[in-house]
Amino acid sequence: MKKIIKYVMADILRNRIVLVYLLFLLVASFSVFSLEDNSSKGLLSLLNIILLIVPLISIIFSTIYVYNSAEFIELLVSQPLKRKSIWISLFIGLAGSLSIAFFIGVGIPVLLYEANMVGFLMIGVGILLSIIFVAIAMLAAVKTRDKAKGIGMAILLWVYFSILFDGLVLFLLFQFADYPLEKAMVGVSALNPIDLSRILILLQLDVSAMMGYTGAIFKDFFGTTTGMLISLLVLLTWVSLPVWLSVRNFNRKDL
């Protein structure tokens, strides 16, 4: 398994798109830090990049990569290898190389300019988001045979997690405005890894942002160590669940 990971990673890291992605992140982070006069504002701008670009690139690149590797996967499957280990290796290879790209592109500038709790959390969350969206991409790719359909699905998923979900939440909030929804919102945020990541970072970064009763409830939950651990657990579930489902699917898939 280690060997497959090694080869997949070596292959991806040499891929031009990953290089461009890395450079883009690097340029974006450095310019954000050098343009903003105070670097915590820089972190805030960077947050938008992490919450939008990282999931987008992760999900689309991974989907395309899986489709493009169909024959390679076929070749591996005909070898004396467990299907599960092939698929997991592919996942680890993709997640690993995108995480590395993220770490170099965003992590290093952040460590240079803002090496504090918020910075570390941001790097951690960014890496987790990369991994989560690789996992989701692989589930989408294993479910749909057709490449065009699969990529479309990946884009749709991204739109859903970045925009539609929040729109839906807003709609529901107004529909049920008469009910005390604050506590429920904590639960709702677990349904979208992007929202969860955003709240986690904001609570560290921008305390004034989270105000009023809702803010207090969020802080009571996410601000504590238990809350942080639970959020981490939820994010890890967002990794493991799609991976587990996709492995199950891949095990039964006809190639």
Partner: protein, 237 residues
């Protein structure tokens, strides 16, 4: 060695395999023949575990292959279209395979030399022509000296010289007592190779005969003619 029992597979509405039963033994060279879409590749993939049959089972050396993967170390497979990670060089692919298979005994790199891949070793896979890729696929199939060779359209895309080299290689391996399963559209190529013929149509196995028996039945010396005869008189058999 390989035994398929009542194997059926449906892809959506298409019945790819229908109650196919075959027995393949050591030292045989079996040609899988049939029109396009007759289920040849599906059968091969089922044997390789890449396609999971809806019903029926396949055994390899007496063991059911379902959910097992170790048996594949005894198989060398050459796919119809071989594609490899774009950024890898030929040497990387070969090394990777050796690395992954962890083969203990001797490595058979005869074909690598015969195809002249040594000079191309540093080339990246994406720069290779289809024929060269086929050569790489062929090399990989023979690399680990497997007991069973499964070759899906091995000569498609190969130039006549290379295809001759490959054929000779197949014959040599057959003589070593290996089981060779081969599909091809170019029947004339199979003449000197095969000892048995499996003929498939619409996912069904129409017959499985030794080449001698086929020649006797059809009265044709050439395999291509014999098969043509079969196809024309499908109902008589």
């Amino acid at each position: 060695m390989i035994l398929a029992n009542n194997v059926s597979k449906k892809f959506g509405k298409l019945q790819a395999l229908q109650n196919v039963s075959v027995t393949c033994n050591k030292g045989e060279c079996i040609a899988l023949i049939g029109p396009n879409g007759s289920g040849k590749t599906t059968l091969i993939k089922s044997i390789l575990g890449m396609v999971v049959p809806d019903s029926g089972f396949i055994t390899f050396n007496g063991n059911n292959i379902l959910h097992h993967w170790q048996y594949r170390s005894e198989i060398g497979y050459m796919p119809q279209i071989g594609r490899y990670p774009d950024n890898m060089r030929i040497v990387d692919v070969l090394n990777m395979m050796k690395d992954i298979r962890q083969h203990k005994s001797a490595i058979d790199e005869e074909l690598v030399a015969a195809f002249g891949l040594e000079e191309l070793k540093q080339k990246r896979m994406r720069t290779l022509s289809g024929g060269t890729r086929q050569k790489v696929s062929a090399c990989l199939a023979f690399l680990f000296d497997p007991q069973v060779l499964i070759l899906d359209e091995p000569t498609a895309g190969l130039d006549p010289v290379s295809s001759e080299i490959l054929k000779e290689k197949i014959i040599r391996e057959k003589q070593k007592g290996k089981l060779v399963l081969v599909t091809s559209h170019v029947l004339s190529e199979l003449d000197d190779l095969v000892t048995q013929v499996i003929y498939m149509q619409d996912g069904e196995l129409r017959f499985h005969k030794t080449i001698e028996a086929l020649r006797e039945d059809t009265g044709q010396e050439k395999l291509s003619k014999a098969i043509a005869h079969v196809m024309l008189n499908a109902s008589t058999i």
